[in-house]
């Protein structure tokens, strides 16, 4: 066996004296225990689900479809996100918008969250900052719950408070003549 090539570290014989290691480990455990007893604020763990941890806004969690200043959906239904999505979980139906300045918009936009791998490629592909991966990470549901999120959920769910505004604004762009 010993002449077989290996990528594992060969431990010296002294490592067989495990009592030293165990003692070291226990010192760490107890020092944390004592620290946490006397300084609760510094404690690393929280009482989930009563307490929740807020991730940074850069966390790649559940998708948000952004809105324009007037509250309408920002997405132009270009389908670049759907094209880029490696899990093929975005389904968009485009339609003609009554306002010729908008021209094209999605009448349905669905993401199958159970297939999504949260890679963020959709966010990267979008030319108008219409889709973002938000900091929301909990996606609980009862048995049989529907994890195919539609526009109503993606853009206007209650905790978005009327929608997240996109940074790309067509009106400003048109005024600047770009």
């Amino acid at each position: 066996m010993s002449d077989t090539p290996t990528v594992l570290e060969q431990k010296p014989a002294s490592s067989q004296w495990y009592l030293i290691g165990i003692t070291k480990g226990l010192v760490i455990t107890f020092s944390h225990l004592i620290k946490n007893i006397f300084n609760k604020k510094q404690m690393m763990t929280i009482n989930y689900p009563e307490e929740k941890y807020d991730y940074s806004s850069r966390f790649k969690g559940n998708h948000i479809l952004t809105v324009k200043k007037d509250g309408a959906i920002r997405c132009t239904a270009c389908m670049l996100c759907a094209t880029n999505c490696p899990a093929e979980c975005i389904k968009i139906t485009a339609s003609e918008h009554p306002n010729p300045e908008v021209e094209k918009y999605p009448i349905s936009y669905e993401i199958d969250m159970l297939r999504c791998v949260f890679c963020g490629y959709c966010e990267e592909a979008c030319p108008v900052d219409a889709i973002r991966l938000g900091p929301e990470w909990q996606t609980p549901g009862l048995n049989g719950a529907d994890f195919t999120y539609d526009i109503k959920h993606l853009a206007y769910r209650a905790n978005l408070k009327g929608g997240v505004q996109s940074v790309v604004d067509d009106k400003e762009r048109l005024k600047a003549g770009i």
């Binding site: 290996t6 594992l8 270009c78 670049l80 485009a94 010729p100 021209e103 003549g177």
Partner: protein, 529 residues
């Protein structure tokens, strides 16, 4: 026959050939917008620049005729720079709204930019705004901002459709495509302008926003809209078919096709298709398991039917091969020559608009006529009508039309057929409402495949036999007439599975180093020391 050298390749071309034509025929890449092989030369886009040895200035390839000993290239730095900055001029006022532009993915600007451009815009001035989403007519929407004024569409309405609806109005950067006041772009060939528009300025109302171009596959086939038999491409994906475009065939349709033919894909899509095998007996409609079994069961029924009481009705919408096999079964197995040709367009068959459209809306009338006469069948439609009335025809098999949009007498004819004792309908479409027929007592409806789902050939008005191959499958359970013919003759369908070795080509990828027994033991190539 002048000889010339283009990009180092020696060519001999016909007298009067332009440089671009010579390059096009030899599959050499050259940037161009305004030149189209089917239209006159305009020379307005200035993109087809070439360098000719001995000529200090670049020339446009589309309007320069090849002369003896010309040495031409379009790969030198000088040409590349000219094309690049020519493209920049085209894009000065271009909105670049590719995300919402239907042309994206097959756009001349995008292609040429990737091939020859790749610059950063030098423009500081704001862009000139023009009209967007202009309703040009019943079929087409115009976006003036995207137009590069190549004038292909104007030349098309001038030279090909000869309707002269389009023109270029205003001057300078205000110039735009339009129609005269109150006029519409409305002719039988209008959608060709969408095909030839190199950018997304002209878009088809029917196809607009339905799909992105890169989600579609294409396959060449023959239009089944009329007896001209234009060569077309159908575009489809797993959701169905989405559009039809012409392909070049100098002997049949040139570069064009008519607007009516653009609709033929609709009747092959799921919405219009008969999906179930249905049987009516004792007043109840019952859904049968599958059409193959239904056809097989018919074999017994038909073999017991008295030959003189059995008849077959066919339209000019199936393939030549299918006609052969069904007629073969009828004439040789059933010893029956009661085959009738249902042609709703017999009266208008000779109409022709001078370009492509013919009055006979069946792609294969000629093929059916040839097949019938080769089996020595000559019947009159009135015999069938009398036979149904006098109850001498008791079992009737009807092979319905595929392109149901052109059969105005569909409901009426089927009402007539419903008077027989046993009606067997082979149909692709679900538009006929059989429930309303009071006299119908025993009926079987079998779903069939359409022209995009089978391989075969059509014979057009001039007797030209054109082959086409299967594009896709929309209704997988449906039968072809071939299959139906062998099933009713009592044979089983032959399925010839391709051996797996022929499907996959062996390659040289090294075999996986991690073997199954490693995986089982959760142990990989390294072992613990």
């Amino acid at each position: 026959m002048p000889k010339c050298t283009i990009n180092g390749v020696e060519l001999e071309v016909k007298d009067g050939t332009t440089i671009i034509q010579a390059m096009y025929d030899n599959h050499q890449k050259i940037a161009h917008y305004c030149w189209h092989p089917g239209l006159s030369i305009a020379g307005v886009c200035r993109l087809c620049m070439v360098e000719i040895e001995g000529n200090p200035r670049l020339q446009i390839a589309c309007n320069t005729v090849v002369t003896e000993g010309m040495k031409i290239n379009n790969t030198s730095l000088k040409v590349q720079e000219a094309v690049k900055w020519g493209l920049d001029f085209h894009l000065i006022n271009h909105p670049l709204d590719c995300p919402i532009c239907d042309q994206a993915g097959e756009c001349g600007l995008q292609d040429q930019y990737m091939d020859f451009g790749q610059y950063t815009s030098e423009m500081a001035e704001p862009k000139q705004k023009k009209r967007k989403v202009v309703d040009l007519g019943p079929t087409i929407v115009l976006d003036s901002e995207r137009c590069i004024l190549c004038s292909r569409c104007v030349r098309f309405t001038d030279e090909v459709s000869k309707t002269n609806e389009l023109g270029i109005f205003n001057r300078g950067d205000h110039a735009e495509i339009g129609t005269h006041d109150g006029k519409k772009l409305d002719n039988n060939y209008s959608l060709n302008t969408v095909d030839i528009c190199p950018v997304g300025a002209l878009t088809s109302k029917d196809f607009r926003f339905k799909q992105r171009a890169w989600y579609l596959k294409d396959s060449e086939t023959i239009c089944n809209g009329c007896s001209t038999g234009c060569n077309v491409k159908v575009y489809f994906n797993k959701e169905g078919l989405f559009r039809v475009k012409p392909t070049y065939n100098p002997e049949v349709n040139g570069y064009w096709m008519c607007d009516e033919g653009r609709n033929v894909y609709k009747f092959a899509n799921k919405e219009y298709r008969q999906s179930q095998t249905l049987q009516l007996s004792q007043g109840v409609w019952k859904q049968l398991e599958n059409p193959g079994k239904a056809a097989k069961d018919l074999a017994d029924v038909l073999s017991k039917v008295n030959s003189s009481e059995l008849a077959l009705v066919m339209t000019g919408q199936q393939t030549n091969e299918e006609y052969q096999s069904i007629l073969n079964v009828f004439v040789n197995n059933f010893k029956n020559k009661n085959v009738y040709h249902w042609n709703s367009h017999a009266a208008t068959a000779d109409q022709f608009d001078g370009l492509l459209i013919r009055g006979d809306k069946n792609p294969n009338t000629k093929g059916l006529q040839n097949a019938l006469s080769s089996f020595g069948i000559a019947t009159k439609w009135s015999d069938l009508e009398n036979g149904i009335k006098q109850n001498t025809i008791k079992t009737l098999i009807v092979v319905g039309p595929e392109n149901v949009g052109v059969y105005n007498d569909l409901q009426e004819k089927f009402e007539q057929f419903s008077n027989v004792k046993n009606l067997i309908v082979l149909t692709t479409s679900n538009v006929v409402k059989f429930e309303g027929f009071k006299n119908l007592s025993l009926a079987t409806i079998i779903p069939m495949k359409t022209f995009v789902e089978k391989t075969g050939s059509f014979t057009n008005y001039a007797g030209k036999v054109q082959k086409f191959k299967r594009a896709t499958t929309i209704m997988s359970t449906a039968l072809t007439l071939d299959e139906f013919a062998s099933l009713i003759s009592g044979q089983d369908l032959q399925i010839n599975p391709v051996p797996i070795q022929d499907l996959f080509v062996a390659d040289n990828t090294p075999v996986d180093q991690v073997r199954l027994d490693h995986r089982k033991k959760n142990e990989f190539l390294f072992t613990k020391g």
